[in-house]
Amino acid sequence: MSTAALHADSHHDHHEHKESFISKYVFSMDHKMISKQFLITGIVMGIIGMTMSLIFRLQLAWPDEQFGFMETLLGKWAVDGKLDPNFYMGLVTIHGTIMVFYVLTAGLSGTFSNLLIPLQVGARDMASPFMNMLSYWFFLASSITLLSSVFIETGPASGGWTVYPPLSALEKAMPGSGLGMTLWLSAIALFIISSLLGGINYISTVLNMRTKGMSMNRMPLTIWAFFFTAILGLLSFPVLLGAALFLIFDRSFGTSFYLSDIYLEGVGALENIGGSPVLYQHLFWFLGHPEVYIILMPALGITSEVISTNARKPIFGYTAMVISLMGISFLSFIVWGHHMFITGMNPFLGSVFMILTLIIAVPSAVKAFNYLTTLWKGNLRFTPAMLFSIGLVSFFISGGLTGIYLGNAALDIQLHDSYFVVAHFHLVMGSAAIFGMLAGIYHWFPKMYGRMMNNTLGYFHFWITFITAYLVFFPMHFMGLAGVPRRYYQFTLLEDFNVWMDVNKLITVSAIVGGAAQLLFIYNFFYSIFKGKKATANPWQANSLEWSTPVERIHGNWPGEIPTVYRGPYEYSRPDREEDFFPQYVPDDSAPEVLHTEEHQVAPEEKSPEEVESSVFFAAIKRVFGLS
């Protein structure tokens, strides 16, 4: 802490120091470079996670087929080209873990919180650039640890991404519960540290380092979303750490937190008595549910920004958007029980969790309607980022609706652990968040690399991905309603489910086509970094502060003074202006502030350091509530 503290105090003096290759690209403390590191690591992890899903999709569609290339790729895990059942479980587990934590938590929040928080609130860098750098390196170490488990003799963790004990706690339960599980737990411990270091920085920067005039109610919705996301992470990841610690103790030390009365291989009960496996589920889902919003909210924030900019309209209901983010964040902490309806939970408790869960539909609907009303009669510009944002809204609605079904305890008893659940969360959280992330990449690529991505490739990428995502996940609803269980290696062995064979094939073919479309994106992304069309400073004619920085990256973001903010971020198409946008940093004495802002047009006066120091506490409180 102390090193970080000292560094944070002194880093403002280092703007113009010479950067070596190592300090610029490797151990960088510049938030923009760290965001690129997160992004590229996230993309690599995404490719790996997606490839894993394609492999197990092949198994599901053609269970009796032999795929020669699989043996080449996987060796003993696919003898004669047939995927090993244990490795199938491993692939499912690692696919889930990678996508949830590594791509959609670190890859999404890590990338865009890092890039946008300092740029959009008007700060030279994060509160502690050193902690920020550590956050990335813990993340990379965690990624490597997780991936290394694929290469070991006994295979990776294979009890599903939720790693419920006793399956995950007993080495003898399945091959993946040996070293693979140990590596999984180590990877997650490193990941939690990374995410806490990052989260502390995000919150601290948003609260404390905003530029003159940037009161909380003038912050772009992206920043609000990252802010609440970071709070969720800060409060819920330590609980997962607790859950993981107890699991480590049960596995490696022989305690009985989760284990009790277990008979293994018919030789009698293990010594562990008194443990409660349901306790793990409580602790896990106390993180697990907020985690869903940790994944989704940054994507929602990005969508707000992109939709408003490209509809050339103020976002509909700015305050409602903030309050609904706040409501979702609060509710996300008290609904974890809806993942546990079938654990034998007291039905009264179940109904409490059910009601709370259904209440989430209210703020979610507010957001969905506000997106639609922002689009309504706007001067829409269909950039690839805009298309992906609209795609997100589509997934958010179609996936969100099934959440209302699953939130009902009585229905969930039927639908739990079926493909209906797979369909639900892949739409509402998986596809929606990925689309938010892609929208963010297309939109802020010019800010990151100073060049534009190719639009035509972007359109192909969008349409193929959008259509195939629905083709993959929509039919799964019907399979789930018919009772097809998830995570089965070959469910078609059960006579009743044989009818789903053709659907299975359709899903797999669509997944392969969708996967191939990502190659377009990857080509577009890497090609444009080096050869893309040079970007102008504000290519989308957007309002927020990041577009006031020079195209070329500068450590410290602005060459001169940090701009002052005069109004809210969504003042598009004002009738009193010739241009259809009015950046936050452009002063204009003749124009009254009509939208989203208080009557103060002049930025608040700067305080002397003594004054600041004397009222630190009140200043902090005031800033939290945007009163300054």
Partner: protein
């Protein structure tokens, strides 16, 4: 970029201090999780005769007294630094560090006492799962104390180098805040375990 000509806004709160508060919030959640696990697990295990309440070692009480004393000394260390009484500041920092180490010794003796009563981390008898919780909670807190002692020693070294005074309170304030945090945390944990066991 000609840095000298540019005047950046000064953050309302020193960034390191805010980061410390956020770290403490996260850390509190870790303890909230372990304590909640204890609360949730207990009736379940009791119904299966797998839970025995026991008296906490007397050394944990001594630890509590030491922590209270060290809170007083760190308060005076902060106060003397604020009024530029550098010698007093150094002495109080050193005293707090010594009390911190005394706390560790006392905890160690408490754990020894538990081991003698067969209340080991890995249950000697299946019905002693409650002991495992006491171990996890006290050891996690111990790790936090070690961090605090590291901070205290760091601040003390800075004090010797005359880097802690009225106009340079950054590190001192961090240490002061953190030490109060681990102190209050221990008092809470002790009272919780005392009444729960």
């Amino acid at each position: 970029m000609p840095k000298s000509k540019v005047k950046d806004p000064i953050p309302a709160v020193p960034p390191a201090r805010l980061n410390m508060w956020l770290f403490m919030a996260a850390s509190s959640m870790l303890f909230a999780a372990t304590v909640s696990a204890f609360i949730v697990h207990r009736p379940d295990a009791e119904s299966r005769q797998a839970w025995t309440a026991f008296d906490l070692p007397i050394f944990f009480l001594y630890s509590t007294i030491i922590v209270v004393l060290s809170s007083v000394t760190i308060f005076y260390a902060q106060k003397s630094a604020k009024s530029d009484e550098l010698a007093a500041n150094k002495n109080f920092l050193l005293l707090t560090t010594v009390l911190g180490i005394a706390f560790c010794v006392s905890q160690y003796l408490g754990w020894q006492q538990m081991v003698r009563l067969d209340l080991t981390f890995v249950n000697a008898r299946p019905e002693d799962i409650s002991a495992s919780y006491v171990w996890v909670i006290t050891v996690l807190h111990f790790v936090h104390i070690l961090g605090g002692i590291g901070l205290l020693i760091g601040t003390w070294i800075q004090a010797i180098r005359l880097n802690v005074h009225k106009k340079s309170m950054g590190l001192m304030t961090l240490t002061h805040t953190y030490w109060h945090f681990v102190g209050v945390l221990w008092i809470f944990l002790y009272l919780f375990l005392y009444f729960a066991e």
